[in-house]
Symmetry: C3
Amino acid sequence: MTTSPFQQRITTTLDAVRLQRPLVHNITNKVVMNFTANGLLALGASPIMADAIEETADMVDLANALVINIGTPSDRTGMVMQCAVSHAHNTGKPWVLDPVGAAATRFRLDTARLMLEYRPNVVRANASEIQALYTGELGGKGVDSTETPEAVESLAMTAARDWQTTIAITGATDLITDGYKQVRLHNGHPMMARVTGTGCLATALTGAFLAVEGDGLTAVTAALALLGIAGERAAAEVAGPGSLHGKLLDELYLLTPDIMNQHLKLEEQ
Amino acid sequence: MTTSPFQQRITTTLDAVRLQRPLVHNITNKVVMNFTANGLLALGASPIMADAIEETADMVDLANALVINIGTPSDRTGMVMQCAVSHAHNTGKPWVLDPVGAAATRFRLDTARLMLEYRPNVVRANASEIQALYTGELGGKGVDSTETPEAVESLAMTAARDWQTTIAITGATDLITDGYKQVRLHNGHPMMARVTGTGCLATALTGAFLAVEGDGLTAVTAALALLGIAGERAAAEVAGPGSLHGKLLDELYLLTPDIMNQHLKLEEQ
Amino acid sequence: MTTSPFQQRITTTLDAVRLQRPLVHNITNKVVMNFTANGLLALGASPIMADAIEETADMVDLANALVINIGTPSDRTGMVMQCAVSHAHNTGKPWVLDPVGAAATRFRLDTARLMLEYRPNVVRANASEIQALYTGELGGKGVDSTETPEAVESLAMTAARDWQTTIAITGATDLITDGYKQVRLHNGHPMMARVTGTGCLATALTGAFLAVEGDGLTAVTAALALLGIAGERAAAEVAGPGSLHGKLLDELYLLTPDIMNQHLKLEEQ
């Protein structure tokens, strides 16, 4: 398999993250805080997590990128998130949105749509969430998708252009588009869906890559490729999802650009 | 060991959970959110966790069962929990209560007793908590019990009848009663008490079984049997509780009705 | 290596914790709750975590020691923490402060300084945090330090005397001082910095040792020695930080006074 310029740029961003150790600020859900902080540390980034309004702007200023995940929303954290993305937008800080469960309830859909107004650099979601965000119709099954990325492909292209962002829809095959270019990623393993927060971790890692790589499409593709390959390698070693949880973090720590190049299953369009 | 009709029904509910993949809504404590979400996923159920009043009724409507765990209570989450159980009660949604630390402080005891008014299908607790709930007297050691299930056996029978629920008291031997029938379960391993949230996980798994099995006694016995056997098998493979945490989830993922039938140590009365 | 009276006292406190199983109350950050509860259980202590104002004084009264960690502060938890430390101070309950991120934002620095007024028995922090607390100047990199313990050594001596507390600054070498005596600890492994909350765990374990050992210098040295040696032993067995997370807890469970005496690398001054 030859290595395209895009693929080369993806793997070199991994070195950049490890060299620069970017500070990634997370306002995220209570279920995955520990796991995503550990994922960022394993990769080589420096996570911070905070949700007090008193320090929101300070934290955005300190950080090299911002991660917003609405997985356990409340009126209080919604306000903090709005303050953070507004400040990020005004100061040019890159940020990524994970609209967890936006297809499940009107409250989450409204919260996620409010965030969209502040122009995230990347939206990482499942197919039902992107569909709900764009159409305004609820769906999915709780925080899980009932659609495949392929089923919402043309909608995602349109949405990415309308929202002026990059959309990454994860599933058996990940679909990534900025509304013009499209990338499909065939890495990953089904057992990863049995570990809570692998989607949230994909979003957090995207934050780390956004801190060192200005192009959203490159940053999120790098994050998803890294996580997918780490998941494949980890799944090959374990009997179940409890052990996968730890091994996945080990592989994030161990992966090199060379290993990524060997395992990457990527199609560009 | 012959297999009783009750035992058969217990093991077949495991297949039902895996086939139906019920959506289980959890309003639970911050210490165990990640572990119990992973436990539900390992089993084959679909967890959701949320505690915003704005989406409480929607989440209960979406879910196939509700889990209420008062492990880190506040006035805000107490109100959300009351809203959720009231809605579950009015709409006939099955739900399970875990009164974590109800024996430790008056605030927790009052919170747990308020929840009881909305008629949980199952109460999963330790002996000190059941004693405190019934007598109104504090006791225990923090969130741990200072009584054995056996010591509160007759009190539990009376309480189950009074509250019209099924009570499951976990300990070295688990005691389960709906006020008429009694079940004792001798599965499990002492090292499980060194992993935070194994009791909370028992409650969360009970939610998954309640979603597919209308009888509370059957549902909670299935959950405790599954967890106890998974714990035994996991403990045999590890040196300490850190590894048990992951292996326990692996075993929840791997267990089959056949393995359950081979290892189940159950007495019916 | 001969065993000094101080070293002997350190290792015997480990037996005391396991014998007494102290109840340790934690008001701590949402990222590390699960990990630090598991660490306390692995050691042999009994953790409780709560942050409701309604039960704050009750929990402090029930507990044998109190752990305050400001890692994810808010106005609500700040008030609860102040209530808890005020009650601990007034009733003579030992407590330990972890000023997470005190060097990062003014809000955290002010919160941590307010806590200091209630005279913690021990402050466990990194070098940037101690420097910020003493000088009032922000610094560090998020929740990470940009200084070594050695660089703030004389400042720490002065601060410990001024605040009438014991200060433990963790890093490649840990520096511990009550303002008069100094201890250096050379245990630990660099990979521990890739697991979120190892510093927070050091603080939580200090709470357990404070519950059985009245001298703060002895208690925190015991906690840091135990964790450092556990980390060394765990790191030798694993490929990355995901597996280290679990193995570290296993080693906390398995360590004996004999193993501690064999591995302890301690200098007294």
